[in-house]
């Protein structure tokens, strides 16, 4: 029995080895076809508003937004080993940047994106000083507490209309198509950010940390610095995404903007899609948005279904759908491998 088992294991290893050498997917992704495939995908995404109805466009918008949020959470949780439950801090900051720039001061909305990015980076740097002194689960709780504090502070702050929040009226003049292109820029932009990070020197350290952070440190990776870089980059993009999301939602309130449900969905997306992979958050975001839409009329029920899926995936495929797929065929659609 034991012999049979070890034989199967050997075969599996052999399979992984062969796959990693000459998988079909890799050939496709790295052959001459790669460029054309990407051009085709981009062309489809860019022309969605031309043939899709408003409902489909809105679903696509949600997918792109959640993909961006998932990518950024994955950068922290999947690579840097920073399990945050406080990414909603930056969504709120981004959303309020939009509200304040466009509503309070009547300035052009695009400026809000720059403000969102800048304030998020600043806030991330300041908050990192106490937060990074905490390790593991304390870091997780710390990030959450920061968000809760922000929610409380904004609810009692006259300058941001207390808990009443803002109607974001610029949205009224925007069509779904226009918002779609904003979402496209945010979604594809976040993907590009992650891809280029992973291809860079920083990415090499991140992949090493993902696999074994203690060993990475012994190999010369400065964990603190690398984590801080990820935290700041993730804050920046999440802040911009927050501004874009509230451009679509048209209404912002502290309880919603700084609510933990944002990060809960990010965690869900990354965990079911595949922690520490570029493809994971894409798969996760598509599944998450589809389930939510299908069960739109049963809000409580959709949470139950999402919960069951998450538990099933954690038990059956701890590395998510992408991890499961990679076990059988070595697919790297966004290959960040050095060779």
């Amino acid at each position: 029995m034991g012999a049979v088992f070890s034989k199967i294991k050997d075969n599996l290893k052999e399979g992984i080895r062969e796959n990693s050498e000459n998988s079909l997917a890799r050939k496709i992704a790295h052959g001459k076809n790669a460029k054309f495939i990407w051009i085709a995908v981009m062309a489809v995404l860019l022309t969605v508003p031309a043939y899709a109805g408003d409902y489909a466009i809105n679903v696509m918008i949600l997918m792109l937004f959640y993909m961006a949020l998932g990518q950024m959470w994955n950068l922290l949780g999947g690579y840097a080993g920073l399990v945050s439950l406080g990414q909603q801090s930056f969504i709120g900051i981004g959303g309020y940047a939009l509200a304040i720039v466009s509503e309070k001061y009547g300035l052009p909305a695009p400026l809000a994106f720059a403000v969102a990015a800048g304030v998020s980076v600043l806030f991330a740097l300041v908050i990192s000083i106490p937060i990074f002194k905490m390790q593991g689960v304390y870091f997780t709780i710390g990030t959450w507490i920061v968000s809760e504090c922000l929610a409380l502070w904004f609810s009692t702050w006259a300058w941001v209309h207390y808990a009443q929040g803002y109607n974001i009226t610029v949205t009224y003049n925007l069509s779904a198509k226009q918002i779609y292109y904003v979402a496209f820029a945010v979604g594809i932009g976040s993907l590009a950010v992650v891809y280029f990070i992973l291809r860079s020197k920083l990415g090499l350290a991140l992949m090493a940390m993902r696999d074994n952070s203690a060993a990475a440190e012994v190999r010369g990776v400065e964990l603190y610095r690398t984590k801080l870089k990820c935290f700041v980059i993730s804050a920046c993009v999440t802040g911009v995404a927050g501004a874009a999301i509230y451009l679509q939602q048209a209404f912002i309130q502290p309880s919603n903007a700084f609510g933990i449900s944002w990060t809960v969905s990010m965690v869900f997306i990354v965990v079911i899609g595949g922690l520490g992979t570029v493809e994971g958050p894409i798969i996760g975001a598509v599944i998450y948005v589809l389930i939510r839409q299908f069960l739109y009329n049963f809000p409580g029920f959709s949470m139950v279904i999402l919960g069951i899926i998450a538990i099933a995936i954690i038990l059956l495929a701890p590395r998510g759908i992408m991890g499961l797929v990679q076990k059988w065929v070595s697919i790297d659609i966004f290959s960040v491998r050095r060779r």
Binding site: D211, A216, G220, R338, R339
Partner: protein, 242 residues
């Protein structure tokens, strides 16, 4: 011969358990110093202190004339102290080549291009040429141990600390590891090698240090140390009155 490392009165305790007890010894440039000792003698703790994973309670670690007892882990690697772990800690999701890259890029601050250019030589050295694309997580034990040394060598260490590379390997596999360590020595690397397998100590080291209960029991030529009554006493206990 100049000394590259001098350990002075190093002590560390976990609660009441003093694992290193005023331990002192020195390592000379380009020698292979073997360290033996019974389980719990403090061998791995010593390596953890030398690499900065553990902080000593007292004592000095003088590396190339500088006290590095307070230097951070990553910086010690960049100063030229490489290390392998008893249970290999390869980056399992990454390829053999990428594992080696991490060593060069972060352990020696090379560009990816420079680290990549040196990778072939290292793969050759550890006997894994032509296997750069394999995923580390799918490697067998010998390959992982070889890769572990390869990643450490990629940071071009002046001092290489090896923690039980031969444990769990067959005789011919051990010969393989011996060959790799000899190759490193030829390139001018100084080696501290912890091992239980006595064959490797006799064949692979220039001097052997025996520690027990965190103290320096005896240090000298391998054969002499192995045959010494002190080492016998440590491993087999002293005989009671006859």
């Amino acid at each position: 011969m100049d000394e590259i490392l001098r350990v002075e009165n190093l002590s560390i305790a976990f609660g009441h358990n003093r694992v290193l007890n005023d331990l002192s010894f020195e390592v000379f440039e380009n020698e292979v110093l073997g360290i033996i000792g019974p389980n719990g003698a403090g061998k791995t703790v010593l390596l953890n202190v030398l690499t900065g994973i553990l902080k000593p309670d007292s004592g000095r670690i003088v590396y190339k004339g500088k006290d590095i007892a307070k230097t951070k882990i990553a910086l010690r690697t960049r100063m030229g102290i490489g290390r392998t772990f008893q249970v290999p800690r390869s980056f399992e999701g990454m390829s053999v080549y990428e594992n080696i890259m991490v060593g060069g890029v972060y352990g020696r601050l090379l560009s990816e291009k420079e680290a990549g250019a040196g990778a072939d030589e290292i793969l050759e050295h550890i006997g894994m040429a032509g296997r750069r694309g394999e995923i580390a997580g799918a490697l067998g034990l010998l390959d992982r141990k070889r890769l572990e040394i390869g990643v450490a060598l990629a940071s071009k260490p002046d001092l290489l600390l090896i923690d039980e590379a031969a444990g769990g390997l067959t005789e011919s596999e051990i010969a393989n590891i011996l060959e790799i360590v000899r190759g490193a020595k030829q390139k001018g690397v100084t080696v501290i090698w912890i091992e239980h397998v006595l064959q490797t100590m006799l064949e692979g080291t220039d001097r052997t240090l025996c520690i027990a209960e965190g103290r320096n029991v005896i240090c000298g030529p391998p054969r002499m140390v192995m045959d010494s009554p002190e080492v016998h006493a440590v491993y087999l206990g002293t005989e009671e009155d006859e």
